[in-house]
């Protein structure tokens, strides 16, 4: 029996005359990780801040049934939040930051020690406990920020681009950490610009102009994806110029030494012919989540 851990209904938030979030609704269940993806300015940070009760908005939010905008609802005890901007204390050490959050959540000494040691081990920050946070590199900082958000073992976790600026190895470590807690029933919403991370989520929602364009389980979205995808080999510079101008090509991304292109359904013949004329070789390949996302964005933009 699954329970709804995060529920947002018809969220609306304007900044001036711009709608940052426009009629957004969301449901995440315990043990589920939901990816919020979208380009800059799509509303990811605004959405997360509303979910955390940090930004007023129309509509309603419930975290495990509690209203994060109501100071007495006890939402803070079950919420873990990692903002996009740097918000730990730079002049304090790793250990001091963790100890501070221990006090904020009222953890007993033994509980704190056990969790702290486990988190420091999982994030490989144990050797840096006495280092001032401002001297940590970007990836280390993010790992610490995640550790601070996980210290009180929240049931709901909101992460705003936790892996931006983090190298591939550290990113995997962060994800391993998240999986540990997912297995224990945590509900997670993660805003991410990385398509491969969105693909690892149970469900993902594409934000555009403050509303969810598409939402669903990545592999379902992939199965439903109609446009054919090809891996193209050739002179990359020339190819990119060509593809940028071709309206039937919905998206292209570098993939190793080749380019993956998404061709509008039904228009493969023309595109492949043009590519061949340019001296390129194309091979059909399986679609990736990034293809789905980019193609959808492109369709949205041409419709606008």
């Amino acid at each position: 029996m699954t329970s709804v851990a995060i529920e947002a209904t018809a969220l609306q938030r304007r900044f001036g005359d711009r709608a940052a979030v426009d009629g957004l609704s969301l449901r995440v269940e315990a043990g589920e990780i939901y990816g919020l993806i979208g380009p800059d300015g799509a509303g990811k940070t605004t959405t997360l801040r509303i979910l955390a009760g940090l930004l007023d908005a129309q509509g309603s939010v419930r975290l495990l049934g509690r209203d994060p905008f109501d100071a007495r609802s006890g939402s803070r005890e079950v919420l873990g939040y990692m903002p996009q901007q740097y918000s730990l204390y730079g002049d304090l050490s790793v250990a001091e930051n963790l100890a501070f959050f221990r006090e904020m959540y009222g953890l007993s000494r033994d509980t704190f020690r056990a969790r702290r040691d486990r988190l420091l081990a999982l994030t490989r920050l144990a050797a840096f406990r006495d280092r001032r946070v401002q001297t940590l590199s970007g990836g280390m900082y993010k790992k610490l920020a995640l550790a601070c958000a996980l210290l009180h073992e929240p049931k709901v976790l909101l992460l705003d681009e936790p892996t931006t600026g983090v190298d591939p190895v550290s990113r995997r470590e962060l994800w391993d950490l998240l999986h540990e807690f997912l297995a224990e029933g945590m509900a997670i919403v993660i805003a991410t610009p990385y398509m491969d991370e969105a693909a690892r989520c149970h469900r993902a929602g594409m934000l555009h102009g403050g509303a969810l364009l598409v939402e669903g389980a990545p592999n379902e979205l992939l199965v439903a994806f109609r446009h054919p995808v090809f891996a193209v080999r050739g002179d990359r510079d020339a190819l990119e110029e060509l593809l940028a101008r071709d309206d039937e090509v919905l998206a292209y991304t570098p993939a190793g030494a080749r380019l993956r292109i998404v061709v509008r359904e039904g228009h493969e013949r023309g595109v492949l012919a043009r590519l061949e004329a340019a001296g390129a070789r194309a091979e059909p390949t399986t679609a990736s989540f990034e293809d789905v996302f980019l193609a959808r964005m492109r369709e949205e933009r041409s419709a606008a």
Partner: protein
């Protein structure tokens, strides 16, 4: 320990760490008061001496010479020029070479001996009215004894400050001004800094309450403030020979209440403006300026127009000043100063309440 207490304590502890690791805060908190005390104390003394004067002696008799000697005897005046007529001294007054001119008319000695009306004239440069009035006062004091046969006027004794030493006036006032300035400055920075650095966002996601944040930040600065008070009271009293006639406990009690008020102002400003730069300016404007001008420190309240008197009665600085002078110079006790203490307590509670109320748990 209850959650609330733990969180408040943690906020206070964190604030202490920030304070220690930013040396500038400590320099500001402890160094600046000392510097200001020395500047105010030594630099701005209302005891003006060695006032340069010119003498126009048209009598050239022993009586006239004795008059001049009497004037310069107390080191209040120094003769820097002699002329034959008052007109010749005008350029000296204009240029500021002399601040005053003594004119002794011809036949001074003769008229004096004959009990005929005569008088020496003191011309004072009034462009600096403070110095002028001091000069006048000093001169009158020096010369009083010269008028023979006049009935002895009742001696003027300034109680509590017999030598009318300005330090007695200044030191308590300077203490108030320094505390007002430094404490509101420091707290003015603290909340705004969290907003600017971005850590407020993370903090609001935790169970901590606004009152815990405000009070937690208040405590370390209050302790620091008491250290400042101890420092400048001791220094001021020792360097300038100002006695502390009342109870020390009362002095520190009143200071603690005043500190709460000033720190509270700083915190409220910090909460409302969310910008360190603006915070600092507003905090100073709202604490140091009124305390300097309207608390009775430099200018007597009784002399002010009614609107300023009303304003003054709303300022914690005014009550603290009264309390300070009371304890330092008059040896007043709680019985006399109770109204001041109550006023300070009420103000503190109000301003801290304002800070908490205005503290929004939302990012804008």
């Amino acid at each position: 320990m209850s959650g609330s207490l733990r969180r408040t304590k943690a906020i206070a502890h964190k604030e202490v760490l920030h304070m220690i690791r930013d040396a500038r805060v400590l320099y500001l908190a402890l160094g600046l008061p000392v510097i200001m005390l020395l500047l105010f104390g030594y630099g701005i003394s209302m005891d003006v001496d060695h006032i340069p004067i010119a003498v126009v002696d048209q009598d050239h008799t022993e009586a006239s010479r004795r008059l001049v000697e009497k004037l310069v005897a107390g080191e209040n005046f120094v003769v820097v020029a002699r002329r034959d007529s008052a007109d010749e001294t005008t350029p000296l007054l204009r240029r500021g070479t002399v601040t005053a001119v003594v004119v002794i008319p011809a036949h001074y000695q003769r008229d004096l001996a004959r009990h005929d009306p005569t008088s020496a004239q003191l011309l004072v440069d009034g462009s600096d009215s403070i110095v002028a009035s001091i000069a006048l006062g000093d001169a009158v004091g020096s010369l009083e004894t010269l008028t023979p046969a006049a009935p002895e006027p009742p001696p003027l004794i300034a109680r509590f400050n017999p030598a009318m030493r300005s330090a007695y006036n200044f030191v308590p006032g300077v203490i108030a001004v320094i505390l007002a300035m430094v404490s509101s400055l420091l707290t003015g920075l603290t909340v705004a800094r969290e907003w600017e650095r971005g850590s407020m966002e993370q903090l609001f996601a935790t169970p901590v309450r606004r009152s815990e944040i405000i009070l937690g930040k208040l405590i370390p600065y209050a302790v620091l403030g008491m250290l400042q008070t101890l420092l400048i009271v001791t220094l001021g009293s020792w360097l300038f020979d100002v006695p502390i006639r009342g109870s020390l406990a009362l002095l520190f009690g009143a200071s603690a209440l005043f500190l709460c008020a000033m720190l509270g102002i700083g915190l409220a400003v910090s909460v409302i403006t969310k910008s360190q730069l603006v915070s600092v300016q507003v905090a100073l404007l709202v604490t140091m300026l009124p305390t300097t001008l309207l608390s009775g420190f430099m200018f007597p309240i009784a002399n002010m127009p009614w609107i300023l008197r009303v304003l003054s009665s709303l300022l914690p600085g005014r009550y603290y000043m009264t309390a300070l002078r009371g304890v330092f110079l008059k040896g007043n006790g709680v019985d006399v100063l109770a109204p001041q203490l109550v006023a300070l307590a009420v103000f503190s509670a109000l301003v801290l309440g304002l800070g908490i109320a205005k503290f929004k748990r939302r990012l804008s």
